[in-house]
Subunit: 150 residues, 5 copies
């Protein structure tokens, strides 16, 4: 069995998130990846939909600027991603980084961590759903440390 995972990122992003996602996926011998780049977050949904014609799951790597209006743009991009998932009946892991999440260097390491962990999530959704099931309700986080169970 081979799993096909699509990775889509943007030229808008300030960190090469795809590199980290692909690195994380390269550890799984049964994964094949396809990759493409679009200008910005609002272009992710339709690109994922297109790649999902030949992939089993997609990872949408988005970067959200620090202005107030950028949150609205992220919202629109995210609604589009919901539509794309439901039209394809496949998962698209939305990996969005917001510049307000920290200083530039913090945001950079959030981006790396979130991209890596969601790449593993994508793989587990396809190949190891019981790993996710065992972590249900455990306060798992991407981009930061897990916060744990209450």
């Amino acid at each position: 069995m081979e799993y096909k995972i699509a990775v889509v990122d943007t030229t808008f992003a300030r960190v090469d998130m795809a590199k980290y996602a692909l690195e994380a996926l390269s550890k799984f011998p049964d994964v094949k990846t396809i990759q493409s780049t679009v200008p910005g977050i609002k272009d992710l949904a339709v690109e994922c939909k297109k790649l999902l014609e030949k992939a089993d799951i997609a990872i949408a790597l988005g970067w959200v600027g620090g202005a107030e209006i950028d949150k609205q743009c992220a919202h629109e991009a995210s609604i589009g991603i919901q539509m794309a998932k439901l039209q394809t009946s496949k998962h698209i892991l939305e990996v969005f980084i917001f510049e307000f999440e920290g200083t530039p260097s913090e945001v950079k390491s959030i981006a790396e961590d979130r991209a890596r962990k969601h790449a593993v999530n994508a793989y587990n959704l396809l190949a190891n759903p019981t790993i996710l099931k065992n972590n249900a309700g455990q306060g798992i986080r991407q981009g930061k440390s897990d916060v744990g169970k209450l």
Copy 2:
């Protein structure tokens, strides 16, 4: 007659809400459950859609963090769930917990109560619609005590 109920939860949640939902459902001898876990709330809609190919109703157990942006994420997840319901013509009970609803221990018991009560609601929608009809307009709440009729 047997009713098939899908329960979907997340690794993001800080309480094992599925446990409570499944416990509540275990009291109905005519219910069979299927369960899966996704990373976060935005992944619930498509997972429910997928499970609804073989289930009659779904329960989407989501956890919303305490940051302002998390409300936007919940909104996107919820729009996706509306789409999934309307595409499948089946109910998906959206059971979302917001961290701002109380202190950690309050939120924990809200989560348990809401998961249990909506599991029963899911069963009643399928098996006992007259129980819901008899409670129409009665100020029934999940997560808290009922507020009653005005």
Copy 3:
């Protein structure tokens, strides 16, 4: 000719709005009603869609709590209702009561008035569209007194 009107309400509501809607509809000898109850506003859209397989129009009776987040919930419910209308190409009259509209007793009478008047609107959309046409631009209100033409 007989008109079939679906009435859907919630257990969350604090007023038995369906009672008023059904009372108003009972005055039309050519109306047959079907009714069901769901837990909350977000469950209305798909229930209306299901009932519209056998009804000509639906009335969605919703109740919105007084917390800030409840407006977001109403928004999601309303988007779902827009989707349901457009998928069925049938009207769904959205009758939402917001707790912030007044004191408990004011809200109660708003709920009664709005449910009754929109029940008549539902009937007129099917049976007497010219009554609506004659009231175009007249500042007609449901829940409160008409405000009139400017």
Copy 4:
């Protein structure tokens, strides 16, 4: 060639906007209009969709009250209209008046002006697309005076 234009308005509106739209359209000998009235803005999208089964374009005349929540209602109505356009692949000119746009008498003349001008836009989209093309980027406004090119 004859163009069929649907005009939909509401009983909620405080100005008879359809009158102005129809007056403006009556100057085009090759236009035939169909008209209907719904209770409020959220009912416009599905009514337009229904009329677009026999019309080439629709004009949705909506009125938005002055309360904060009314903007949310307008938003939901507008999302519905986007859906209706994309499902029919036909234009629906959304002509919404917000009460906060001015004093009652200002709002009244905004409503007249906007309804008239968008009626002409609807005609031009069907019959004279080059008129629109010649005005591209010219700061054309409906409801107010044109603001012109920067």
Copy 5:
């Protein structure tokens, strides 16, 4: 191979953005353009959908006024554009200018720069996806200077 690119703009805009987009596209000998103009941003999505019946990609050139409500209008327009992309499985580059982005003369040059650069993006998505791939995560901007990689 010839690429067909649709350019849609509005009469509402205060800058002739289509001129810049078309100028930028004229440098590619293998591009053929089709163009049309609609009244405002909310009309862009369905017009793009219609032109995408014969084009490979679309550029939606929108202008957003400076009032608070205009952001909501942009949001609705943008949701419509997401729907149009996903219904056609083709890219629509959303090129929106917000009046609050600067003084009139700043906004004018933002509009020119953004229209030109997104026209090139549209071409690259069709003809040179590796150019986009090479710029992944590089902090590329349209309307302003690139901000670069962190």
